[in-house]
């Protein structure tokens, strides 16, 4: 859903970042507008996951240069919880288990944190319960999910669905999906993808991080970026993903090298 006049949701310029003493991001540029779906593909160690966690504010990463603007605001100055409340959502590759806290309570606390930020009254358990049930259907999740502890004993697919359920409640402006497809069988993938597609509007944007072209059959991107060595090497449409699948990343590297030589 590309519309040149849409609001710029995320703008990343010359971003460099370290974890410990190692530089992971080496001058990353990216612009995402409302309504767009972007996919970042790349081999292991290219910095994809680092980038997604950095956007959400993970404390392990130190930004050493460049800027990240989210809807006109300097994202890098915001605490992780403020980013979340302002509309950045990261669906985790490995969602954490929190034994002892029911999924329902967790979802309500999270939802109400955002309501509070927006100056709205917090929802009580009764009203929240009604709301959450409408979202459950979207992910074909059973109500029994709600009374279980957060992610405890969930299968891989259940954990990923639970992430998207959280996204469905928080309605972010930017949904970052970090390998939401990894470890899922095709049925689970379809359910997750279908949930994501239904959350798409012309006001929000999605950034997917993935290894596999397969995901892009179900969530069709407007842009595909190939990342390696902490930078985006090339950008294309969804056809780029097919080319990668067929020819591997080596081909992109050669193109890049040729480009630099010229």
């Amino acid at each position: 859903m590309i519309n040149e006049n849409s609001e710029v949701i995320l703008s990343v310029k010359d971003l460099t970042a370290d974890v410990g003493d190692t530089q992971i991001l080496k001058g990353l540029n990216l612009e995402i507008k409302a309504g767009e779906i972007h996919a970042i593909m790349g081999p292991n160690g290219s910095g994809k996951s680092t980038f997604s966690k950095l956007l959400a504010g993970h404390p392990a990463y130190t930004v050493t240069g460049g800027e990240v603007t989210f809807r006109g605001q300097n994202l890098l100055e915001m605490a992780p919880d403020d980013r979340a409340k302002s509309g950045v959502f990261l669906a985790f590759q490995y969602p954490l288990e929190i034994p002892g806290v029911s999924n329902l309570d967790f979802l309500r606390v999270s939802y109400n944190a955002k309501r509070k930020q927006e100056g709205l009254e917090e929802l009580d358990s009764f009203d929240f319960d009604e709301l959450v049930r409408t979202r459950l259907d979207l992910l074909k999740m059973d109500a029994a999910f709600l009374s279980r502890s957060v992610n405890e004993g969930f299968s891989g697919g259940e954990k990923k669905r639970n992430e998207i359920l959280q996204m469905a409640l928080l309605e972010p402006k930017l949904g970052i999906l970090d390998e939401i497809d990894s470890g899922l069988d095709i049925d689970a993938l379809k359910v997750v993808a279908n949930g994501v597609n239904q959350l798409r509007t012309s006001d929000n944007a999605i950034l997917m991080i993935t290894h596999y072209q397969r995901l892009l059959d179900y969530i069709v991107p407007d842009f595909v970026h190939v990342m390696e060595g902490g930078r985006i090497l090339t950008t294309g449409g969804k056809e780029l993903a097919f080319e990668l699948e067929a020819r591997g990343y080596e081909w992109v590297r050669e193109e890049e090298a040729a480009e630099v030589a010229r």
Binding site: A56, G57, H58, P59, A60, A79, P80, D81, R83, A84, K85, F89, L90, F92, P95, L96, I98, P99, G100, V101, F106, V109, S110, A113, K114, Q117, S149, Q166, L170
Partner: protein, 446 residues
């Protein structure tokens, strides 16, 4: 660890620096013993025997292995006195009364029975829930149980027994099932530097069952000393579900003993929650005396500031087919210090014992401290005994996950701490108490 002189940095009590003769100090506490009421004259022997034991002892130092980590220097510098007889109104304790036990409760104020605040109308006929002076008239078997548990020669237990003037008595006859929880509330009126010796005796005859809630609370802050002893005798095939909540003033001293004996096929389950007191010590001792006996111990210590919270448990197996399942959790913030010592004794005769012990600890501050020690003494050769201990902090990744869902760091830490604690609270069988404690833990300042 041979330091006896107090290392406390509490500058408000300069006298702490001085050494104290700890047997003379104990003798002073024994001199304070209140007179035995006339109607309890037949218990003179019980008191005298305990007095004779106590007179040979002293308040322990950190050189005593059992008190290695819990320094009582700040206690032995206080000249305690007996509390004045306080008269308090129902309104002052109403919030502590469990709705489920509104007519099955005993209230003790500074160790003394308060009949006006107690009510026992809801209990089945034949079940006795009363104080000591009534029980001596109606329960001849009392003498077989009072001060008869093992461990009576321990110094604070002997001090309590030697000072006996009152107590809560619960007697459930054979095959009687008491559905209503029985609440024993020990209230301190928090006089500064007063000492009380709350006492409780529970007798579950064979095939009976009951749910007991013991709570230690205060209605004001003060540097008082509670030295409590509870004895629980569980006959064959009987069941006792016990919840013990210690919520003393954070300037108080609490030393408590729970001594349980279990006959064959009996079941004892205890949830011990320790939140209060400046220095708290709980000795929880279970003696299995028959075959196929089940013991379940769940403990939670949650302390902050400069609190010390010490749990010493002991499960003694003596016969085959016994089982025990123990989980102790400690959450320690600020400069607080939690101690857990879990002894499990499996002698040669206790074949086919199945014992599990887990000590899980959460440190919330770099200056908080945990000392945890499993102590397994196993001589039987065909048994299953598992134990484990973990000490952890809240992980950055956990806090980040919650922050990424909009919770601020403090809320995130509170929720994770609550999640750590709630497993223990969930074992408590009384809904209102469970809800109460859940709220306390959920809103605890970290």
């Amino acid at each position: 660890m041979t330091v006896e002189v107090s290392t406390s940095t509490d500058t408000t009590e300069p006298t702490l620096k001085a050494r104290v003769d700890r047997s003379a100090y104990l003798a002073g506490l024994l001199k304070l013993r209140p007179e035995l009421p006339e109607e309890l004259a037949e218990l003179q022997g019980v008191r005298d025997r305990a007095l004779a034991i106590a007179q040979e002892l002293a308040i322990p130092t950190t050189r005593d292995e059992e008190w290695r980590f819990t320094d009582l220097s700040s206690l032995v510098h206080i000249g305690f006195a007996l509390p004045d007889r306080a008269s308090i109104s129902f309104a002052q304790i109403e919030s502590f009364i469990l709705p489920e036990a509104v007519n099955s409760r005993l209230v003790f104020v500074d160790g003394t029975y308060a009949p006006d605040l107690s009510a026992t109308d809801d209990l089945p006929e034949g079940v006795l829930v009363t104080n000591l002076s009534v029980a001596v008239q109606f329960l001849p078997s009392l003498h077989n149980y009072l001060a008869k548990q093992q461990g009576a020669e321990e110094v604070f237990t002997a001090l309590n027994t030697a000072s006996l003037i009152d107590g809560a008595i619960v007697h459930v006859p054979k095959n009687q099932h008491v559905e209503t929880p029985i609440q024993i509330l020990f209230v301190s009126t928090a006089g500064v530097a007063t000492i009380a010796h709350p006492r409780c005796l529970v007798i579950a005859e064979s095939g009976s069952s009951l749910t007991l809630v013991e709570e230690f609370v205060s209605i004001a802050d003060g540097g008082y000393f509670t030295n409590a002893v509870t004895e629980i005798a569980i006959a064959e095939n009987a069941q006792v579900n016990h919840t013990r909540v210690q919520r003393e003033s954070e300037t108080a001293f609490h030393i408590g003993k729970t001594a349980v004996s279990q006959a064959r096929d009996s079941r004892y389950s205890c949830s011990a929650i320790s939140l209060g007191a400046k220095i708290a010590r709980h000795n929880l001792e279970v003696y299995q005396t028959g075959e196929q006996t089940q013991t379940t111990l769940n403990g939670l210590t949650m302390i902050n500031g400069e609190q010390v919270g010490d749990t010493h448990s002991k499960i003694a197996f003596t016969k085959p087919y016994g089982t025990s399942d123990q989980v102790q959790k400690c959450i320690v913030g600020d400069r607080a210090h939690a101690i857990f010592n879990g002894k499990v004794s499996v002698p040669q005769a206790a074949q086919l014992t199945n014992a599990a012990q887990l000590s899980r600890n959460l440190l919330l501050s770099p200056r908080a401290r945990i000392d945890t020690k499993p102590q397994l003494e196993i001589t039987a050769d065909n048994v299953k005994c598992a134990h484990g201990a973990t000490v952890s902090q809240l992980e950055d990744d956990e806090v980040f996950y919650l922050q990424s869902r909009g919770l601020n760091p403090e809320e995130a830490r509170k929720l994770l701490t609550y999640a750590f604690a709630i497993e223990i609270i969930n074992h408590i069988p009384v809904a209102s108490l469970k809800a109460n404690l859940t709220t306390i833990i959920r809103t605890q300042q970290l």
